[in-house]
């Protein structure tokens, strides 16, 4: 039996609608992850041992366990503790946001640590307060290292988001799977889903390259 895309053609719009779901989950979790990442990275480079310890432990746990486990713990496990169900969409954002925060905090920390420590000393010697120094001197320079790595994290998140399928969120992946079940042929819809992911990732990659070029120009 060969491939027959015409059989699933009527379901293309249904699968395509999953792009919106996927992008929404990815975009919101990326924002959540970014904020968590910024805060954790400040803890990591700060002088308070308790906060540094917390941020390191957080990162270690979220990087040291499977993402799908974190997702299921939140979606299936947490309701047992808090007493009410969590919508799949929210559970996905929570899991991806918390997880991504760990990776983003490492990206930002490394970006900041790559800046010559003489820059900090120059700012301190001028009497510039810590917060202003971070905002105006250190972070703008660190962004050159941080942005490309953040873009990579965003791309990874887009691909990894396919595991929300396991908790029944109607993303691209889930929809392709459903169509496969209805038509008794999985190969075509899954290939179609793969094409969509690939195009999304390529789009983001090009965007990232353009961004990098723009950053290079300003040197």
């Amino acid at each position: 039996m060969g491939l027959d895309f015409s059989q699933i053609a009527p379901s293309f719009p249904y699968i395509l609608k999953g792009i919106w779901v996927t992008l929404q989950i990815v975009a919101v979790s990326a924002v959540v992850g970014f904020f968590i990442g910024v805060i954790l990275s400040l803890f990591k480079i700060g002088k308070f041992n308790v906060l540094r310890w917390f941020a390191d432990a957080y990162t270690s746990v979220f990087r040291g366990t499977p993402l799908v486990l974190q997702l299921m713990l939140i979606y299936y496990g947490l309701p047992q503790v808090i007493g009410f169900e969590i919508p799949a969409y929210l559970a996905a954002i929570a899991a991806f946001g918390l997880n991504s925060g760990a990776y983003v905090s490492e990206i930002i920390r490394a970006g900041i640590e790559a800046i010559d420590k003489g820059q900090k000393e120059a700012a301190l010697a001028l009497g510039i307060p810590y917060s202003e120094m971070m905002k105006d001197i250190i972070l703008p320079q660190a962004m050159k290292n941080i942005l490309p790595a953040l873009m990579n994290e965003f791309i990874t998140l887009t691909k990894e988001s396919a595991i929300v399928t396991t908790i029944g969120a109607l993303d691209i992946m889930r929809r392709a799977y459903i169509v496969g079940g209805q038509t008794f042929s999985f190969f075509e819809p899954l290939l179609f889903a793969g094409l969509i992911y690939y195009l999304l990732v390529m789009g983001l990659t090009l965007l990232g390259k353009a961004l990098e070029r723009k950053l290079k120009q300003s040197d």
């Binding site: 010559d116 003489g118 820059q119 000393e121 120059a122 010697a125 001028l126 009497g127 510039i128």
Partner: protein
């Protein structure tokens, strides 16, 4: 006035400064000389608390820098510092580099800060570079901008940590000329340097450090012609 009283500094187990005491009056120009690794930078950095002295006390006027509860940021506003590797802010233009601290720390408005920055650029001979980014400048130009940036805070004293050591030989002069002007204008200056000609000509006093100890504290003539210690003699023989 800067008063340094019995200051020692340990990095872990290693003692890099041992019981340093001296006083520097207002308007005085003091150079710190000595072999590499003798603790010159560390001593300088203890004054504005980029390093914390392990023992001893340091006063600037009537404020004790080494007091743990002191507001060091306020004190730093009054002490300019110039680094070996310039440390200009690379993402800001020359003018922005100079204006930033007066704007943020002194609370000057933009116009005031700009006027001040321009007059300082003129003073260091770089009025045509205000819109340039640091990496378009030569080392000598960078260091002159760094001096202007420090002066923009209108500090009461200036610290220099080997300001010409990272420069190509032909650029050393232009930076030393700016520093000499500054010394003649009555600025209190502490300068770590290997430029012995400059030290001899401009300094009121020379501090010679060796292995973390203040071995000589003398006017330049005496230091260069009749040093008291063997170590200073050795040092001078090697570099002159």
């Amino acid at each position: 006035m800067i008063k340094i009283e019995n200051v020692s500094k340990f990095f872990g187990e290693t003692e890099v400064l041992t019981g340093i005491s001296t006083e520097i009056s207002n308007g005085e120009v003091v150079t710190i000389v000595g072999p590499s690794g003798s603790g010159k930078s560390t001593l300088l950095r203890c004054i504005n608390k980029l390093e914390e002295a392990s023992k001893g006390r340091i006063w600037i006027e009537d404020q004790e820098v080494t007091d743990p509860s002191v507001n060091i940021m306020k004190i730093r506003e009054e002490i300019g510092m110039v680094f070996q590797h310039f440390q200009l802010f690379p993402h800001m233009t020359v003018l922005e580099n100079i204006m930033y601290a007066p704007l943020k720390v002194r609370g000057k408005d933009k116009e005031e800060a700009e006027t001040l920055a321009r007059s300082l650029l003129k003073k260091v001979g770089l009025e045509d570079k205000e819109t340039a980014y640091p990496k378009r400048l030569s080392g000598g130009q960078k260091q002159r901008v760094a001096i202007a940036r420090a002066l923009a805070m209108e500090p009461k004293m200036m610290l220099f940590d080997e300001p010409t050591s990272a420069l190509d030989p032909e650029m050393v002069k232009e930076v030393l000329a700016v520093m000499k002007d500054l010394a003649q204008s009555g600025m209190t200056m502490i300068i770590v340097t290997h430029e012995m000609g400059f030290a001899r000509e401009v300094a009121d006093r020379i501090l010679f450090l060796d292995e973390g100890k203040l071995v000589e504290d003398a006017p330049p003539e005496r230091f260069f012609t009749s040093p008291e210690s063997e170590r200073a003699k050795d040092f001078l023989e090697k570099i002159l």
